[in-house]
């Protein structure tokens, strides 16, 4: 009987102390500085690889990178990228027009992964809400920027396998072409 009542008092004491503890902890939080970042006043700098508005970048020599291969358009899960391919006099392909409907885009970044020339890239610029849904359709001149984006030094045509810029053997990491007539065993 005595032991039981002692246990009861102990349990009651522990319960009350637990409650008091909880109240004390919340009271301590009341006087802490809020950790909220107040958005329009403070814009958190996002990592460069975060995915938002899409751009078309340029080569180090200022030429546009896009070769209108349609890979981005094909991989796009919501089909928001469309373009028309054309060829310059020197045989280099480019997009005659290039269009991204940002009202449809889900910013998955698949286009960026698919792009062989690193032309299409996603940027951290997420603030482009608009009232008019039609103004979300971005044309090539809206998308094209004057820099190389994330990998500014990369130039697709400076690498092996493509002959548009520089002849055979002039590319990065490429050996001289083998003379098939002189390497007989």
């Amino acid at each position: 009987m005595l032991r039981k009542s002692v246990e009861l008092v102990k349990a009651g004491y522990e319960g009350v102390m637990g409650l008091a503890d909880a109240y004390f902890i919340t009271l301590k939080h009341l006087f802490r500085k809020p950790i909220t970042e107040q958005y329009p006043e403070y814009k958190r700098p996002l990592p460069t690889r975060s995915r938002a508005r899409i751009i078309l970048t340029r080569d180090p020599d200022g030429d546009e990178r896009c070769v209108a291969c349609f890979l981005c358009s094909a991989v796009c899960p919501v089909s928001c990228i469309s373009m028309e391919a054309a060829e310059r006099e020197d045989g280099r392909r480019y997009a005659r027009w290039f269009r991204i409907n940002f009202a449809r885009c889900i910013y998955c970044g698949f286009c960026e992964e698919a792009c062989p020339t690193l032309a299409i890239q996603l940027t951290p610029d997420y603030e482009f809400c608009k009232r008019d849904i039609l103004s979300f359709v971005y044309e090539k001149e809206d998308l094209l920027v004057n820099h190389g984006g994330k990998d500014a030094e990369y130039d697709f045509y400076k690498h092996a396998g493509v002959t548009a810029k520089g002849g055979k053997g002039a590319h990065i990491g490429e050996t001289e072409p083998v003379n098939v007539k002189s390497n007989m065993p």
Binding site: T26, H29, L30, R32, K33, P34
Partner: protein
């Protein structure tokens, strides 16, 4: 002469009602801000300086909302149940004394709407009446969540009405009157909380259950019942439930002040300010509790009310009676 009295009464009603509803609206803002701070974030701070126009914006929004009455509800009951909650909460202010009698140009103006000689009973009766708003609102909605909320509300309010009333018996015994004015006058020397800490505790606990606040907010338990009895209500009807709840909170604060903290009595500051300070203690405590405690299970709630609060309140009455006899003899 009767005309002057009528004008005076109307002026008093206008002032008190305005202050009460304004206080309730801003209590919502204070609650949201405080809860934010408890969770180390800012509360609403976009509408006006420090979010001070938030209640006004909320009010405009509530009024302009579409008046939705779901199909198959009991239309009459559905329409009137929010009004019951709000009206009952506001009516309770009628017996709360704000200050001692004011003497203006030789006239005595009582600073209470009506000094009922059964004030305590009036308050308890109205407090329990608000369960009709909850239960009927839940029933009329024709939705299982609402019905569950309403049933819980009814059961909970009935069980907590009992300790609420019993905890006031010692106060009435000490004051020797049911009138709230007399109870305040009886606390001239010391507030009753000093001699009745147990009754004070029981009253606060049951009043939390009475206003359906966390941790006793089972009738509206967001996580289990959507929003409980007011799931189907929207717009101004929903707002009336809300106003009712917050006015009820303030009124219970005032009752705690009147019954246990000496009402408007206090040094230096004017009596109304003292009453205001004391009656805002309870809402603050309720908000603090909301930020702290989780919701108990339904049977635990009933267990706590019937098996702990009621017996303790009864023992408290007997002990208080014995003490009064002992002191007087």
């Amino acid at each position: 002469m009767w005309f002057l009295g009528f004008v005076l009464l109307m002026a008093k009603i206008a002032i008190v009602l305005g202050a009460l509803l304004g206080l309730a609206a801003y209590l919502i803002l204070v609650e949201r801000k405080l809860l934010g701070r408890f969770q180390i974030r800012f509360g609403p701070n976009r509408v006006g300086p420090f979010g001070l126009w938030q209640p006004i914006a909320d009010g405009i929004k509530m009024i302009l909302k579409e008046d939705i009455i779901p199909a198959d509800v009991d239309r009459t009951v559905f329409k009137y149940s929010p009004a019951v909650v709000a009206t009952v909460a506001i009516l309770m202010v009628a017996v709360i004394p704000f200050s001692s009698d004011l003497i203006l140009w030789g006239y005595k103006i009582p600073m209470v709407f009506s000094d009922l000689n059964v004030g305590v009973l009036f308050v308890l009766a109205l407090s329990s009446l608000s369960v009709y708003g909850v239960a009927l609102g839940g029933w009329a909605s024709n939705s299982k969540y609402s019905l569950l909320g309403g049933i819980r509300g009814a059961a909970q309010m009935i069980s907590y009405e009992l300790p609420l009333g019993l905890s006031l018996v010692p106060v009435v015994m000490l004051a020797g009157s049911f009138s709230l004015v007399d109870i305040v006058n009886a606390q001239e020397k010391y507030p009753f909380v000093l001699v009745q800490p147990v009754a004070f505790l029981i009253f606060i606990l049951s009043s939390i259950a009475e206003v359906n606040r966390l941790p006793f907010d089972l009738p509206e338990a967001e996580n289990e019942l959507n929003a409980g009895y007011h799931t189907e209500f929207s717009g101004m009807r929903f707002a009336l439930f809300f106003i009712g709840e917050y006015v009820h909170m303030i009124v219970l604060g005032a009752l705690v002040a009147v019954f246990f903290l000496g009402g408007w009595r206090g040094p230096l500051l004017p009596p109304v300010v003292w009453l205001l300070l004391k009656m805002l203690l309870v809402p603050f405590f309720l908000i603090w509790t909301r930020a702290t405690l989780p919701r108990p299970r339904y049977d635990q709630l009933m267990h706590f009310g019937w098996k702990l609060l009621v017996p303790v309140a009864l023992v408290n009455i007997v002990v208080t009676g014995g003490m009064i006899l002992w002191v007087r003899s």
